[in-house]
Symmetry: C2
Subunit: 347 residues, 2 copies
Amino acid sequence: MSGGPLPTIHEVARLAGVSVATVSKTLNRSGKVSELLQERVNAAAQKLGYAPHASARSLRSGATRILGLLVADLANPYFLRLVESIERLSSAAGYSVILCNSAEDPAREERHLAMLLSQRADGAIVIPTRRGWSGRQAALANLPMPGILVDRRIEGLDLDSVTTDNVALGRLAAEHLDDLGHRRIAVIMGSPEHQIARHRLDGLRSGLASRGVTLDERLIEKDNFSEAAGHAAALRLLGHAQRPTAIFATNNHLSLGLLRAIAERGLSIPDDLSVIAVDELPWAGLVRPGMTVVTQPSEAIAETTVSTLLSRILEGRSGAEDEARSIQLQPALVVRGSTAAVRTSST
Amino acid sequence: MSGGPLPTIHEVARLAGVSVATVSKTLNRSGKVSELLQERVNAAAQKLGYAPHASARSLRSGATRILGLLVADLANPYFLRLVESIERLSSAAGYSVILCNSAEDPAREERHLAMLLSQRADGAIVIPTRRGWSGRQAALANLPMPGILVDRRIEGLDLDSVTTDNVALGRLAAEHLDDLGHRRIAVIMGSPEHQIARHRLDGLRSGLASRGVTLDERLIEKDNFSEAAGHAAALRLLGHAQRPTAIFATNNHLSLGLLRAIAERGLSIPDDLSVIAVDELPWAGLVRPGMTVVTQPSEAIAETTVSTLLSRILEGRSGAEDEARSIQLQPALVVRGSTAAVRTSST
DNA sequence: CTTCACTAGAAAAACGTTTAACTAACTCGG
DNA sequence: CCGAGTTAGTTAAACGTTTTTCTAGTGAAG
């Protein structure tokens, strides 16, 4: 199965009849090496199937060309898309990615962070868990390598971050629903302690307010972000005497629960009810009229994240170090069939 | 943002007033160190926030405690579940995971493999791309570290593998459909060149045959594994003069396309048509009567994969090396509402 | 012809660990 | 009281690179 021990730079040097320094310079295109020797070296390396030992290289050079990617919840399809893009971009830039899933467990997050420290990753991309253990802020702030937060920010933490403008996201939903004449608008918001949920709700509320519509606070369902919670909240909302004409689910787990509840109740979208969700989802094609959604710019977020982190890594080498950037990217509204104008406007 | 340079074992040794060897022995619990010195060392390490430099450690010890995880397609939810489980299990065993997505592109797969070689990963877990570039077999066979194939096997490659028993999977579907009295059974099989698809079809065919039912070859739709292909195939099947009474979709992308087509045609499940799919899917709750599926034992596959690989890594150290194991795990039938007995039996 | 500047290459140090080899102190049987 | 084991610790070598320093050779200027 496995061949013998791998060749080292010394064996390449011996085969090519040169010193190890020359081999190193040739392979890294650093320093001057004559054409002739370059060819001999490359031929020898090729012949032996030489692959430089990354540990030795980084021990000496101080750079591992490894990025840590610490995600709060791999099962979240939105995060998964971020992971995909980040892996692709990092890999294209010559970096390997160590993937860590904290599964919303701060203890796992802490362990993974310690591991990344030991590995001396050149940088860390962190989608932090929702509720931190006490020392998390410190652990993140004291990270010896450049780090960047994605999707979720942590208040009072001096670290680069790339997030969606969630207030704008809520406002987009508000404007769309108002355009369609909706007045009885319900929200399944998830946990009210969570900043993102609050921002989205705030955006919705202020967006409606700026159109002269006030959000009925009794139609705001708060709990956690699970599919089950979304399902339960939806059932409560659908049970109201005055059923809402539109429901905004602020996260993809919640919208799945919402849709399930609607299907169970035998209601049809958008005739009985308009639904607007967040993020494109692989199964959205199953919802017959098509889902109207407000999307987060995941590809742009991934690009910004990776390029910002890589530039931090470079400037870190040259000593410069300015203050933390916090970048917000704009969401977009995608109108499909799950939202429609209200039938009987009871203004 | 980032603090000064990280402390080395020498600084710990100096602070504790002992030699570096003593620090190393204490921290690794190898060799004899007196209680007193152990405490001094631990206190010093704690105080300095010492984290051993993984590169230095692996350069010397020869082990990186890194596993490479090379997946053919991260967007596939089934693979994603495997990734989640593998990450969790590896991490619990003290290994970090470098994630590589080849996105069904053999060239990316090759590059990633070379990178894992350079990183000197202790082992590689590979879900190979469907169609290999010419040298893939060689690249995999010559891997200097233990490797293991998951989900997809490569014929004639002497490497451990863990897969689902796909013939059994097809047979489970066959028996269930036969129990319900179905005779006009259609299959959306994906690419006929792909071993897994062939096995599942073979299982279905032989399962039916052993019940005295012959599969109508005209109702076998072959193309690729995309959602679009599933959708197109479904439309063709639903257009037949004699519509099939049941459809078996052999993969999750295909079943999504199938369900979309059924929804578009306004048909209802299972009244007009029974549907059986492969694998639990996050959105299965949306299909109202619930999806009847044949599931692959993803958690068991992940466990077997990781434990087999880790034992290979251990035995690799001690020189022993027996021949490749190829392990097949059993699928299970989960009956929900999407399949029902045929109405008008036209035997 | 000698000296100087420059160049291509070699020799050697360094990165931070682990571990084999060594040493000093102590124990104990004869 | 002495030599042989045992024990707890230190010293130093080694892992495979990169990179700094050093050397020998070449060509040109004086």
